[in-house]
């Protein structure tokens, strides 16, 4: 076979009926007329004919694929050499052909006994954030409670604003710093009471 001059060959294909693409599955569907005589097994040129049709369709598919948006990465292409190479990745759309699933859609898990109980009682899961919290003012991470805790900020202030509510009442002269501490102690007491109550309830 003499090598044809590929440079001058066209990269476009004309089809009477335009082909349909499923780019997500890298597929192309050609519904143009197929001549039975060309494809008959007695025809000597049969294979060439099939290859010609396939080539045309592949050319169309490749043209479509290469015009998709491209994402280039410099990630190592899975090689062991450790060299990073530029990779051109085509962003494929989702496949349009409906194919059956392998297994039924996963069902939602049945709620556990605890989850049912929590829903009934309206118990919400605790906010998970850890003990430390970022203090904007000092630019440091400080514990929410405990030694140098964020809830003790008021205690160390040299000047504390008097609350509007207690203004001009008998409680006006009570030090708000000690009040803050008392409130915290109250919360601890309350929590202990609840714990005891829960323990009894079991």
């Amino acid at each position: 076979m003499s090598t044809p001059d590929y440079k001058s060959l066209p990269v476009t294909v004309d089809k009477p009926i335009p082909v349909v693409y499923d780019l997500g599955n890298l597929s192309v569907f050609d519904s143009n007329v197929l001549d039975r005589n060309d494809l008959d097994s007695s025809n000597a040129k049969r294979e060439e004919h099939i290859r010609a049709i396939t080539r045309d369709n592949t050319q169309l598919l490749i043209n479509q694929l290469l015009s998709l948006p491209i994402k280039t990465t410099t990630d190592a292409a899975g090689g062991t050499s450790g060299q990073s190479a530029n990779m051109a990745l085509l962003r494929l759309p989702e496949g349009t052909t409906e194919l059956p699933r392998e297994k039924p859609l996963p069902k939602a898990k049945a709620p556990t006994k605890w989850e049912k109980f929590a829903a009934k009682k309206g118990i919400k899961s605790k906010e998970k954030g850890g003990k430390m919290v970022f203090d904007e003012a000092s630019g440091e991470w400080v514990p929410k409670w405990g030694y140098k805790g964020n809830n003790k900020k008021l205690d160390s202030q040299w000047l504390v604003e008097v609350d509007d509510k207690v203004q001009n009442t008998a409680n006006e002269l009570i030090d708000p710093r000690s009040l803050n501490r008392q409130e915290r102690l109250k919360l601890i007491k309350k929590n202990e009471r609840q714990q005891k109550k829960n323990a009894r309830g079991m």
Partner: protein, 331 residues
């Protein structure tokens, strides 16, 4: 149904989790099973077909006494045991020579089956003596023939082969990974009532050449056949029950991309948002703070201001001249 016990260790638990139904599914695995009547030719053909499906496949070496259209339960068992949803059973008999039964399962139950008999003129990978496709790449597929869109049998064939060979579903495809094409052609168009023409299965390797006409971007594509070359004659078919088909085609709602309301992209790629505001409440608007504007100094009709006014009026009614009162009123 295979009995499963509650896993006792983490490894067994992981293995079971891999088998579970997932929202985004694993690539379908294929299982090649030689039937009791399988022969050398069928063995070679399944080896070549499995090479196309590697690494998502398993191939049995021993023959199995399975007649899928009479009793499919052994296939369901093997499907569950090996976690494979694509099964290919090879057999050869006087009535059906060189027969491959392609079975798909859904949830380890038979979804559909089709018999494809390989015509005598098949060629294997080894017959081409050429460089072959690279393992594990996602192939391109071309389907030639209007029947693939219109005729239910060929739709079945199309769906089967796409399902079988499409490999991993991905949104990113390496350009250099576009290396081989699987071509399926209906052997000529046909009318209703005529015997179903064969389906021609070909695999080609892609060669791309820089073309002046395509500019920098588009290459000229040429193909060279790598095999296997198989002509499939269509035999018996079992279609999925409508219930099962409906269940299998269900799409997960969680995966659907939600349309974002009131957000648009213009042709330059700039993002525009449209916001709908509620009616503004000017009553509570914060204006400049002054002592004189405090709410206790508010002047509302019917309050003490009016009373003062009435008093003034009364005092003037007693007077003879009314005109000055009218003038005052204006003030």
């Amino acid at each position: 149904m295979i009995r499963t016990v509650k896993p006792k260790n983490a490894r067994a638990k992981r293995a079971l989790e891999k088998k579970e139904a997932k929202l985004v599914e694993n690539t379908k695995q294929a299982l090649f099973i030689p039937g009791q009547t399988s022969n050398k030719a069928m063995h070679d053909i399944t080896v070549d077909l499995s090479a196309l499906k590697k690494p998502n496949m398993k191939r049995f070496n021993r023959k199995n006494e399975i007649r899928p259209f009479e009793d499919a339960s052994p296939l369901e068992f093997l499907s569950e045991k090996n976690d494979c949803s694509l099964l290919v059973l090879s057999s050869s008999s006087k009535k059906r020579r060189n027969n491959l039964t392609f079975v798909r399962t859904f949830g380890y139950k038979i979804y559909d089956m089709i018999e494809l008999q390989v015509a005598e003129n098949f060629k294997l990978l080894a017959d081409f003596h050429k460089e072959t496709f690279t393992l594990g790449l996602k192939p391109m597929m071309t389907f030639q023939g209007a029947a693939f869109d219109t005729h239910p049998v060929y739709q079945h064939v199309k769906s089967l082969f796409m399902d079988f060979f499409r490999g991993e579903t991905t949104t990113l495809q390496d350009v250099s990974g576009l290396q081989h094409v699987i071509s399926l052609t209906v052997c000529g168009d046909f009318q209703d009532g005529e015997p179903l023409p064969n389906v021609l299965f070909r695999v080609y390797k892609l060669k791309t050449y820089r073309s002046e006409q395509g500019g920098k971007k588009l290459p000229r594509v040429e193909l060279s056949e790598t095999g296997p070359r198989l002509d499939f004659k269509i035999g018996r078919i079992q279609t999925p029950s409508p219930d099962m088909a409906k269940e299998a085609m269900k799409r997960a709602k969680q995966l659907d991309v939600k349309m974002k309301k009131n957000v648009e992209l213009d042709s330059m790629g700039d993002k525009f948002g449209r916001i709908h505001m509620g009616k503004q409440d000017l009553q509570n608007m914060q204006t400049r703070k002054m002592k004189g504007l405090k709410s206790k100094f508010d002047q509302t009709p019917g309050s003490d201001d009016d009373e003062v006014y009435e008093d003034a009026e009364e005092s003037f009614v007693t007077a003879d001249d009314i005109e000055p009162a009218a003038k005052r009123q204006k003030n």
